[in-house]
């Protein structure tokens, strides 16, 4: 190559080194019309987002449960009053027509609205923060005055925060109730029951639109379920081990040997006449192209987080249940063996992995129904057929037509009540 040519090439290379052109918008419209696929993907393709969503749902769930539990237990340090709250031995009456809940913190012995006749005795009263409770009227009618005592009020000590009382005043009559920590609580609802479990479930994958052999997988999981009477929510952590039948298709040419290729013939004149000399070089010879298939086993391990809700009914030792919800799976390990042809006499022409490979994350809808059998006060056996419908593809779409594969399996395990 002469210098001019080099310069010429350099000129053009320099000019086009970072050459870009902005395509018009209609190009994308035309491309979009020619490709399948969905418009989502960014959310579900991000395991961190999914894990965050799962965590938020779980935390919200736990907070909700906690709130329900607290609502069932009346605040121990509150006093409810509708009207005609009266107290003290000097028969001072106080009226209030509005229901008021007074925090115990506002009860103190220094900020006194109700004077005790006995200066030596304990003093109590309602704080200034509730001025409406304080009436300047003198006690007018004896019948409106009720004195209530609680516990050992012979000492006329109103129970304060440390005693954890609940004092209720009904509309017309003060009917204080005292709910000590050890006492029963009215309208108490059943506490959510925590059930933990360990399970094993073999499954078979189905491909509705592809002619692929069904693939097997098995799963170990730990579950945690909170039961609210007949309903429950369940989550957990599972490891799914899949072993897909894979394989490489490749074309090859078998080495057969060599032949001497004559690339030149020269003639020498000798006494015996003209003698040709054949100049040769060895040339490799390969058989015609053949196709072969090299089977492999593609192994994948997924971490799975289900978020299920269900319904359960108990009949003595046996209970049946149905449940459903999403499950999020994240690929944590994979092992896809490469084809390894050790035969030196083979010339590979094409090497293509024929097996669709699984994606790094997917979302499934899980539907299960089964029975539990209680073998001990706190231990049950569980047996549950499970159906999984893959909302997002489990495989790389370029290799497989079935976007929504599904699987069926059986989940068996032990449940522990807490």
């Amino acid at each position: 190559m002469n210098r001019d040519s080099k310069h010429m090439d350099e000129v053009f290379r320099n000019r086009f080194q970072s050459f870009e052109a902005q395509p018009p918008e209609y190009i994308w419209d035309r491309i979009k019309a020619n490709i399948p696929g969905n418009n989502s993907g960014t959310l579900f393709s991000n395991p961190v987002s999914l894990a965050s969503i799962a965590a938020i749902i779980l935390i919200a769930l736990m907070l909700g449960i906690n709130t329900i539990k607290q609502e069932n237990i009346q605040p121990a340090n509150s006093i409810q009053k509708n009207q005609n709250i009266a107290t003290s031995q000097d028969n001072t009456a106080y009226q209030n027509t509005n229901p008021v809940t007074i925090p115990a913190q506002s009860i103190n012995t220094t900020d006194i609205s109700l004077q005790n006749e006995n200066p030596a005795g304990p003093q109590t009263g309602f704080g200034k923060s509730f001025p409406s409770l304080v009436s300047e009227e003198k006690p007018s009618a004896r019948e409106n005055i009720r004195v209530f005592t609680m516990g050992n009020l012979s000492s006329r000590k109103i129970l304060a925060e440390n005693d954890k009382p609940n004092i209720h005043a009904d509309n017309q009559n003060l009917k204080p109730t005292y709910n000590s920590l050890s006492g029963n609580i009215q309208n108490y609802r059943a506490r959510p029951e925590l059930v933990m479990g360990v399970h094993f479930s073999p499954e078979v994958m189905f491909y509705p639109e592809d002619n692929i052999n069904n693939q097997n997988s098995y799963r170990f999981d730990l579950s945690a379920a909170l039961h609210f009477s007949d309903f429950f929510v369940e989550t957990g952590l599972g490891l799914n081990f899949s072993k897909d039948q894979g394989g490489y298709s490749y074309d090859y040419q078998k080495y057969l040997g060599t032949y001497d290729d004559v690339y030149e013939v020269t003639f020498d004149s000798t006494e015996n006449g003209v003698i040709p000399t054949y100049h040769t070089s060895p040339e490799d010879v390969y058989d015609s192209v053949s196709e072969s298939y090299h089977p492999t086993k593609n192994k994948y391990t997924y971490l799975e987080i289900p978020l299920l809700i269900g319904f359960k009914k108990d009949y003595k030792r046996i209970s049946w249940f149905v449940k459903g919800g999403p499950s999020f799976a994240f690929l944590v390990h994979k092992n896809i063996p490469e084809v390894n042809i050790t035969d030196q006499d083979i010339l590979l022409a094409l090497n293509e992995n024929k097996q669709p490979q699984r994606v790094s994350s997917n979302v499934q809808f899980v539907l299960g129904a089964g029975i539990n059998y209680r073998i001990h006060k706190r231990v049950s056996l569980s047996f549950e057929p499970v159906f999984r419908y893959y909302l997002t593809s489990a495989y790389e779409r370029s290799y497989i037509r079935s976007k929504h594969t599904y699987s069926a399996g059986v989940r068996a395990g032990l449940l522990f009540n807490f």
Binding site: V11, F16, A21, Q22, N34
Partner: protein
């Protein structure tokens, strides 16, 4: 900005949104390549469109061993070559022997790499080259293919590839000379 790896994974799962992101990021560079291989912008856009559809369909087979951008560029170039085969008309390939004869009559004339010819003019010159010249020149100069590789991809002989490259350079030199003369004249005048 989302990494290529995440975009590739999402595209592999069929996400059109992710592919849109990929398109937004790489379409300008790839259209630049398509433009070099085409007669005009319409043909370049056709190649770009066809190439991106191929990328979408094959993205699952991309193994993150090499450059993703390089992989996409190769797909675009192969798409352009397919266009070349489809549009192949009867072309007269000058034999290398003729070229050697012509070459011996030519004087070496250096072209300044900093020659005052803007990118648009150079692009127009490249696009107006005969198709055979254009493909060989692009593949040899920009993509770094050898003559054997060019011959294999275009379905011509190695000698034809060499001939086309020589003719392409001659063509370009001839087209650029007027601009150089004009520039020199401007410098003298002004």
């Amino acid at each position: 900005m989302v990494s290529d790896q995440k975009i590739i994974e999402a595209c592999g799962k069929g996400s059109r949104k992710a592919f849109r992101e990929l398109y937004r990021k790489y379409a300008p560079v790839l259209l630049g390549i398509c433009t070099r291989y085409s007669n005009d912008i319409n043909e370049a856009e056709d190649i770009l469109q066809e190439g991106f559809i191929k990328i979408y369909n094959k993205i699952g087979s991309f193994r993150s061993e090499g450059s993703f951008e390089g992989w996409m560029k190769r797909i675009m170039i192969n798409t352009a070559i397919n266009h070349y085969h489809k549009n192949l008309k009867h072309q007269r390939y000058v034999e290398i022997s003729e070229i050697h004869e012509q070459l011996s009559n030519e004087k070496d004339r250096e072209i300044d790499p900093e020659l005052p010819v803007n990118k648009e003019i150079i692009l127009a010159i490249v696009q107006n080259m005969p198709e055979g010249y254009r493909f060989v020149f692009n593949m040899f100069v920009f993509e770094g293919y050898s003559h054997a590789e060019i011959a294999d991809k275009l379905g011509v002989s190695v000698n034809t590839s060499k001939t086309q490259l020589f003719k392409a350079r001659q063509y370009l030199r001839k087209k650029i000379q007027p601009y150089i003369k004009e520039s020199v004249q401007n410098n003298i005048n002004g």
